[in-house]
Amino acid sequence: MQSHLVSFIRLLRSHDVRVSPAETLDAMAVAATLGYAQRERLRDGLAAALAKTPQEEAVFQHCFNRFFDRSLSDFASTREERDTAANEQDAPAGTPVASAEGGTEEFGGAGAESLLDATAASDAALSELLASPLLQQLRNNDSTALNLALGEAAAGVGLSQIRMFTQKGQFTRRMLDAMGEEQLRRTLAALEQSQSPALEPLRRYRDILREQVRDYVERQYLLQAEGQNARFMDNLLSHTRLSNLEHRYLHRVHELVRQMARKLAERHARKQRSYRRGRLDMGRTLRRGIANDGILFHTHWKRVRKQKPQLLAICDVSGSVAAYAKFLLLFLYSLQDVLPKVRSFAFSSHLGEVSELFDQYPVDKAIELVNWRYGGATDYGKSLQDFARLALDDINSNTTVIILGDARNNNSDPQLDIMRSIYQRSRRVIWLNPESRRAWGTGDSEMLRYLSACHFAAECNNLTQLERVVDQLLKINR
């Protein structure tokens, strides 16, 4: 049972629940204390030891139901099936249920059974086959032993390594081989040639076996590979250029971006106050000393309250960056959800504030609205003027301005002076450009000129880069 628990924990890990070795030991202790008899109780207990957040607990419940459903109640369910099969058989005699696994012991299958035995008496290969443990299990409908054999075969062929659905066939084949299906197959081929009457019942056993193995592999695939696949996918998505992402992965990216924004906000929203050693708060120290006859036991140090950075984000939504804009807006949206002071602006030919839109509407609607209102041909000069009118007064030494855009200005006036005044007033100006660094300054790109008015500029066209840049940005702000 212990190895069972370990494989359950492995399953949890593949579903992004972090379980440390110490917690594994805890889980063992929990299982030992509670016993395996009561499922609900075991579930509650293991949840307390393994799942440490409500989200993790939801995942835990899902995994637990799946995993222990199979291993704890499988036997019972098969028996139940057998019972129902038997019952159904009792009522109408000629129903095809007779082909079900359990039907063999009843009168419908009795003839076939004796037929098998009779043929075996004259056929050495068949009698040898019937004596094999595999056929014994199948004939006696011993699902426990069969399950055990399945488990052994699975361990033998390394079924837990299954990752892709394309491997299912391969593993099924290997499992069958490991369980000794070959003998069954050979005998079947021989029977087919001799057109023996025992062919039919034996063939049925083969089908049952195959079905069992196929189901087993399928379940293992679901258990092992599901979490892995999702992670593999996420990894892939976060390294793909945003403009190349296919539409059907959008919702997944959505989720990724939100996770990322939350992670960043969590990491950086922690501490607002820090103690600065070295500068004594004399007044307080003296006051505290009064109780001790004026002797200064407690020193009190001055502390500084850190202000949260104010973030102004400007996003280009014109045609040339349309593919990126969607994600950048998504990121802005998520950021606004998690950081308290974010104002978002969008522009192409003119600029406007979209913070309210983001507050009011769900993300899809908001992005659609922004694109509709502010989409068009790019004019950085005009947009910067708009921005200066709207927000320049609010920029102070605690403000970070992030600009998301390709700086392609259609050869009109870049209004570098406004950019410079933003630069001088703010704490930081950060430019995230979806184009690669080599393309900066080519054609109508004003990037190199704007670069002089940025504290930091980076190429940013996939999620990993975006995360790295924003992380760095928040770190500097602290």
Binding site: R18, S20, A22, E23, D26, A29, V30, T33, L34, E40, R41, D44, G45, A47, A48, A49, A51, K52, T53, P54, E57, E266, R270, K271, R273, A291, N292, D293, I295, F297
Partner: protein
């Protein structure tokens, strides 16, 4: 703590019944967590929305086991001097003043500074002994003869540094004091930590604890809770009010009413001799249930849909 000392904790059913006799109706999940915490000697980290009975759980456990409840309320800036121990500076000072003359006697006949210091050393660290130690809640919990229930309330309000301070106590039930050494708990206390999830607790702390999430209870459980806390209330009214509270929790409110508010509300309805929920009585008592003006407005505007239909009542 051993099982034979506390028959109340011998099995999960015993815990459920014990809690119930003290008016705390709990789900099997909660009882399981308490049972495991006791058997495995691990702290429990209790999370959940405010007012679902996280603190109450610790209090009831203390009542049931007849152990002292030692409570440490966390807040920003809480440090070891307030949580763990402190030296009694005043007493130390006073003693040095009183003993000034005594010191003169002691040092009589000592030649030079080196000899005086040498002689002083013979008396050891008198001023840094346990007599001058002021135990704060955490240390106090370690010193109890029969064990104790230690409640570290709202641990999410404390600083990250404080969490690290807790680690030694939670995993080994001991406190290290540089001047004295390590003080180990005589009987390891049962520790409850509560958190309202205002921030994430560090993994290191979580790993040392069992985790218990208490959600809002189901209708049936909440009815039982109300029954045990406000036994005089009419059964039909009880059903109605719990249903009403549950429908409120589905709304998008700033703060959903918790169990404590349901109980308060049941008490106020009882005081007002209400027989049945109707718009008037809800209107006049809604402020017991909801704590924000916005929420009250939201609910009042949609009261018609929320009210139990006459056919049911």
């Amino acid at each position: 703590m051993h099982t034979q000392d506390f028959p109340q904790l011998a099995s999960i059913e015993a815990i459920e019944q014990g809690f119930e006799s003290f008016g705390y109706i709990c789900s099997p999940k909660i009882a399981t967590a308490v049972f495991l915490a006791f058997q495995l000697r691990k702290p429990i980290l209790v999370e959940g929305p405010p007012g679902v009975g996280k603190t109450e759980l610790a209090k009831t456990t203390a009542l049931m086991l007849d152990l002292p409840l030692i409570r440490l309320q966390c807040y920003e800036g809480l440090d070891e001097a307030k949580a763990l121990y402190e030296w009694k500076y005043g007493k130390q000072l006073l003693y040095t003043q009183i003993l000034k003359e005594k010191l003169g006697d002691l040092l009589q006949g000592a030649d030079g500074l080196a000899a005086s210091v040498e002689r002083l050393h013979q008396f050891g660290d008198t001023f840094y002994s346990e007599e001058f130690l002021e135990p704060r809640p955490l240390l106090k919990a370690m010193q109890q003869e029969r064990g104790a229930i230690l409640l570290i309330d709202e641990v999410d309000k404390s600083d990250y540094e404080f969490e690290s301070l807790l680690l030694e106590i939670l995993s080994d039930y001991q406190v290290s004091i540089p001047e004295i050494g390590t003080i180990k708990a005589r009987v390891s206390p049962m520790v409850f930590l509560t958190s309202n999830n205002t921030r994430d607790i560090s993994d290191a702390l979580k790993r040392r604890c069992l985790h218990l999430y208490i959600p809002f209870p189901s209708v049936r459980l909440e009815e039982r809770i109300v029954l045990s806390r406000v036994p005089d209330i009419d059964q039909q009214l009880r059903h109605q009010l719990v249903q009403f509270v549950h429908s409120l929790r589905d709304l998008d409110l700033k703060k959903s009413p918790a169990i404590s508010e349901t109980i308060d509300w049941a008490r106020s309805l009882l005081l007002l001799h209400a027989r049945e929920l109707d718009a008037d009585i809800i209107h006049s008592t809604l402020n017991v249930l909801l704590k924000f003006e916005d929420d009250i407005n939201t609910v009042e505007s949609g009261l018609r849909e929320l009210l139990p239909r006459p056919a049911q009542s």
